[in-house]
């Protein structure tokens, strides 16, 4: 066994262990902030696995998109909406946990079966290495053009939706409740979106 292959094996083992342990932590930890930070670690170790597969461009894109954008967005959401409130006890929590655990175990068993019954082509196709960037570009503009464009349309829709939600002052009345919107406030503390109409109006 050469030095290169030994290093590769050690890297693979370390990355896999961090990946599995990190994902378990994301699901099982009660503190949501820890889960979010661990998710970043999981994304990073996936990027490491891509690097081991000689896909450096995909690895860098994984770090940029998942760690730099998605995970930061999640952290932002958690930190800005970190309300200290005690959640009401959910009835039948134990039963729910057992059921979801059973579903996950079933999925895991299915995946295990698939991975053991499939004839994996070993060794796999030779990695293209540095050429990958060009290859990905060619694919995106030829046979994967439609998914690429659809994804951009989806992002555009999400962006317009976010703008509409953030600038609620463009409407003169609330979409759902029909109440006139306070134009002075762009961001309102408690919007009457899903609340009942206050009892004040009945008496007056």
């Amino acid at each position: 066994m050469t030095i290169a292959s030994t290093t590769e094996l050690i890297c693979f083992l370390v990355l896999s262990v961090t990946l599995v342990a990190g994902s378990l932590g994301v699901v099982l930890l009660p503190n949501i902030v820890y889960s979010a930070f661990l998710l970043g670690g999981v994304f990073l170790s996936v990027a490491g696995l891509y690097l081991l597969l000689n896909a450096s461009f995909v690895a860098a894109a994984q770090v940029l998109v998942y760690v730099g954008a998605v995970n930061v967005l999640i952290l932002f959401a958690i930190m800005l909406v970190n309300k200290k409130e005690t959640l009401a006890a959910i009835p039948g929590l134990l039963l729910r946990r057992v059921l979801s655990g059973a579903v996950c175990a079933g999925l895991f068993a299915l995946l295990l079966r698939v991975s053991f019954t499939t004839d994996w082509a070993l060794p796999g196709p030779t990695p293209v290495g540095e050429e990958a960037t060009i290859r990905i570009g060619e694919h995106l503009f030829s046979d994967y053009l439609l998914p690429f464009e659809l994804a951009s349309v989806l992002l555009l829709m999400a962006m317009i939706g976010a703008i509409v939600l953030a600038r609620r002052d463009v409407f003169s009345s609330d979409v759902i409740t029909g109440e006139p919107v306070d134009q002075g406030l762009i961001e309102k503390a408690r919007t009457p979106l899903l609340l009942e109409k206050p009892a004040l109006e009945k008496t007056s």
Binding site: G68, M79, G129
Partner: protein, 378 residues
């Protein structure tokens, strides 16, 4: 311009080192293993020394701007002052606030520093004088710098301090919004040089000395990149995350001792790294204003002669560092002369001005590349 490019192998220390060990009868694999830590340690040490120089420059230049003398007694002209600062931070008590989250509090500064140091992987000081000529080059730097906001959020959150949290959120918002115009201006350069690799980008600018530098072909991109880099480094006029009048010191408020020093180190290493990358992307990297091949030809020397290789290699390192430190000087001068912008002005500048201008710059570059493939890299 592509036709003029003469790529000489230049100084290749790795090949010489491996040959040397091969003569001693050391196996190829072991020689490679022995070589690996050398460039990493060299770059790490030079990065830290660069920070010391930077701190000294900052103190001296700020003093000159404010008509003071600045550090004077520690060594000649106060050059030992940064060392004294570093030692002071090293010996300070390491405090973790009582209600803070100890684990995240410790991990935060590390997550801020490590990506910055990793990014030195792609900074070239010569044709073969870099740790690794990875194909994704500048993209790796952009990806790594996007990890930093997580460290900032982490330290801001775990300090259990409202100023820290606000500072951390501001830092992350700033870093995200300036990453987009930054990436777009880098994309224009990449489009011209047909490669993401930093070495290829410099080689593409090496045809006609100073006239082939990217700054002439990408003046708008250069300005956008410089502004974004300052914002990413949280330098004044964009140092909102640690605006002391509003936020005490932002996410650094609760930090003391070595953990604070890690932030300090990270921000200065980042400044030097950014200056180096500006010089690589826009100012010809290790290139001398007059092509060295031409100079060597004038003196009747072959570029491949060992002595000439050593001289051109050293000249390349000196040029890279000189350009970078000129930019650092400019950044320090900016810091001590320009007032801080407000957070809304900062976000307005990023999203409503720099982003559209960077997009237009990208489109114009693409059009020029199609129209004049000779001058804009066909």
């Amino acid at each position: 311009m592509q036709t003029f490019v003469v790529v000489t192998p230049g100084l290749d220390l790795q090949a010489s080192f491996l040959d040397l060990l091969d003569d001693f009868g050391v196996s190829q694999g072991l020689a490679h293993l022995l070589w690996l830590p050398l460039p990493m340690l060299t770059v790490l040490v030079s990065a830290v020394v660069g920070v010391l120089v930077n701190v000294w420059l900052e103190r001296k230049i700020s003093a000159a701007v404010q008509q003071r003398i600045g550090p004077e007694y520690a060594g000649a002209l106060g050059i030992l002052q940064p060392l004294a600062d570093g030692l002071k931070l090293l010996f300070k008590e390491d405090i973790i606030p009582a209600k803070a989250d100890g684990l995240l509090f410790t991990l935060g500064p590390v997550l801020v520093l490590v990506p910055v140091i990793l990014s030195w992987l792609v900074v070239p000081f010569g044709q073969n004088l870099l740790i690794s000529n990875v194909g994704v080059g500048v993209f790796l730097w952009i990806a790594l710098s996007s990890i930093q906001p997580i460290g900032l959020l982490m330290s801001g959150y775990s300090s259990n301090n409202k100023y820290s949290l606000l500072g951390g959120l501001r830092a992350a918002a700033q870093s995200i919004s300036y990453e987009i115009p930054l990436a777009l201006s880098v994309l224009a350069i990449v489009m011209m040089s047909n490669s993401l690799s930093t070495v290829d980008i410099v080689n593409q600018q090496s045809g006609a000395g100073i006239f082939s530098w990217n700054i002439w072909r990408q003046p708008v991109g250069f300005v956008i990149f410089w502004i974004c880099v300052l914002a990413e480094c949280e330098r004044l006029p964009f140092d909102l995350p640690e605006a002391e009048e509003e936020l005490v010191a932002g996410y650094q408020t609760e930090y003391a001792g070595m953990k604070f020093a890690l932030f300090y180190l990270g921000s200065y290493i980042n400044l030097v790294l950014s200056a180096l990358l500006v010089s690589v992307l826009y100012l010809g990297g290790w290139g001398f204003p007059i092509p060295v091949e031409w100079l060597a030809g004038l003196l009747g020397q072959s570029v491949d002669a060992p002595l000439v290789q050593v001289i051109t290699g050293s000249l390349g390192i000196v040029m890279t560092v000189l350009k970078a430190y000129l930019l650092v000087f400019f950044a320090i001068l900016l810091r001590w002369t320009v007032p801080r912008v407000r957070i809304d002005q900062l976000l307005d500048l990023g999203w409503k001005f720099l982003l559209p201008v960077a997009l237009v710059n990208l489109l114009v570059t693409a059009a020029l590349k199609l129209a004049f493939p000779g001058a804009f890299g066909g």
